[in-house]
Amino acid sequence: MPKDMMQKKKVAYDISFKVYTPEDIQKQQDDLINEVNMILDISKEEAAILLRHFRWNKERLIEDYMDRPRHVLDAAGLAQSSRLPRLEVIPGFVCDICCEDGDGLESFAIKCGHRYCVDCYRHYLSQKIVEEGEAARIQCPADGCSLIIDARSLDILVTSELKERYFQLLNRTYVEDKDTLKWCPAPDCQNAVECAVKKKDLEKVVPTVACACQHRFCFGCNNNDHQPAPCRLVKMWLQKCADDSETANWISANTKECPKCNSTIEKNGGCNHMTCRKCRHEFCWMCMGLWSEHGTSWYNCNRFEEKSGTEARDAQAKSRVSLERYLHYYNRYANHEQSARLDKDIYQKTEKKMVQLQRESGMSWIEVQYLNSASTALQTCRQTLMWTYAFAFYLARNNLTEIFEDNQKDLEMAVEALSEMFEKPVTELADPKLKVVIMDKTAYCNKRRVILLEDTAQNLAEGRWSFSVDLTTPGPNGGSSSRR
């Protein structure tokens, strides 16, 4: 009963989505094609071409077609004629592609009448399908003819191994043409996920979806699940880490900034009299004050009270603080990322452990499943924790941040405690008392994660967080740009 209630109650960070298998996707297309085929009284091949031309927007297609059918057919590359496509042997025919003219040369033409020998036609299609990955919009091979080759013609021409690839590509255009559909990015997964979240919603929600293959990813940006941090922050954070993480530590340990131009300077000699290479500013490495104020009594550097020195140190300190602040968050982010990886290694050993445990303790398979649950909990919680640090880095302090940090701390402590128990040797794991503790801890971790995500998601939806950066995405970005 209480479990039932938990399931019914909708959590704020959950969004609705649906997972489709390749068969589902095929069926959706077929249904749409059948519908258009009936409503508009055109062949299925033509319905399919028109739907692809209209990016599967059925309503728009029907409306436009009702208004001006000729125009729509022409634009989609469907010239009108009622002849069925077939292979023909025409006396005196010369193929314009290979220039062959033998007797009995089989040839083919789609509705436009541009006729080529069947070998050239097949070669052309395999080139388009296999090498260029085209399917939905392959045109007639004639120079300047934009008529699109329909599915029935392809049926006649395309060999069976090519057909499979061809239908794969066609399915792909269906998913890629629709904004509400996305492929699961996991390797070897062929499913697609449907979700209604739009680009402009991404300031308010973090649309994590879970494919049937278990892969959890963000519908907004295709990255792995990054709740609670919004996509825009994730992008900035990953960018920043790619730029900074390796060098930041070294810079922090070995350099100071020029008090005048802020260039980063490494001290490469023993003398404290520094001259900035860039702006020629002369200063003391010890107190960061103006060198001119040191006179010749430099070694004592007893000018601690000098105004210029204090100011320079202040500026220096500020820049250090911002670097240290970044490193604080980065180190924790990176630590959870690494720990999650290590936990995953252990997860792979878990199965072995469980079998061992079953043997040694006489427990049944179902009785050792608690280790599996613990491992899954560790993975998801660490994933969340990791991104709480990126989130916190961009968070400007207000009265909500304290609650957030408390939640973060609670979850982190629980996760670390569970992680420790999880690593115990099998003999100890078999102890029924420890089993209960692990199960409790697992449940507690999951609960803390839900609390944290509830809180962050709700405040995000209501726009109550204040960030140190702008969350509104300037124009469309991302996406693949193909270069030739």
Partner: protein, 181 residues
């Protein structure tokens, strides 16, 4: 190979009845896949009086794959790279627009009309395209300077551009501009 017949036919057609202002030759008689084209600058263009060399390389899978055509003579033009490569930006030559029924003749004719009428909206050299749009006088002056400097006399087909060479023969054939008729 099926392409052999098609290429011979195209070559015969182009040598017997060459496209306007052009001469076609083979640097190596046994290799039908490499052509040299000598193109006279069209009289109504800034390139008038110049003679330009074009490399034509037909891939083994021609006509299903796009021919590669580059300038061997330097030319000041918005749609041709201003370097020794001489790459050309032409819609017909893009793989996704190429049709196997398209003939080399029509590509060569398209290149010639590109000299008469550059396409500054799809430039390879943005600066030259800008100049063409906004300061036509300066553009024509520069184009003519290039003609005087690079495009006088028989064109040289020595510098085989990296894209067209494909690692085969780096050193150009010494018998340049040999006429095949």
């Amino acid at each position: 190979m099926a392409s052999q017949k098609r290429i011979s036919k195209e070559l015969a057609d182009c040598t017997e009845n060459p496209p306007q202002g052009m001469r076609i030759s083979l640097p190596n008689d046994s290799d039908l896949h490499k052509w040299h084209v000598t193109l006279e600058g069209p009289s109504q263009s800034a390139y008038s009086g110049g003679t330009f060399g074009l490399f034509v390389t037909l891939p083994p899978d021609y006509p299903f794959k796009t021919p590669q055509i580059t300038f061997s003579t330097r030319i000041y033009h918005p749609n041709v790279t201003n370097d020794a490569t001489g790459s050309i930006c032409l819609g017909l030559l893009k793989p996704e627009q190429w049709k196997p029924a398209t003939r080399i003749r029509s590509v060569l004719e398209a290149i010639r009309s590109l000299l008469v009428e550059p396409n500054p909206d799809d430039p390879l050299e943005a600066r030259i395209a800008d100049e063409y749009k906004n300061d036509r006088k300066e553009f024509e002056k520069n184009a003519k300077t290039y003609v005087t400097r690079y495009a006088k006399g028989t064109p040289k087909f020595e510098a085989v551009p990296a894209a067209a060479a494909g690692g085969s023969d780096g050193v150009g054939d010494s018998s340049t501009g040999r006429r095949a008729n």
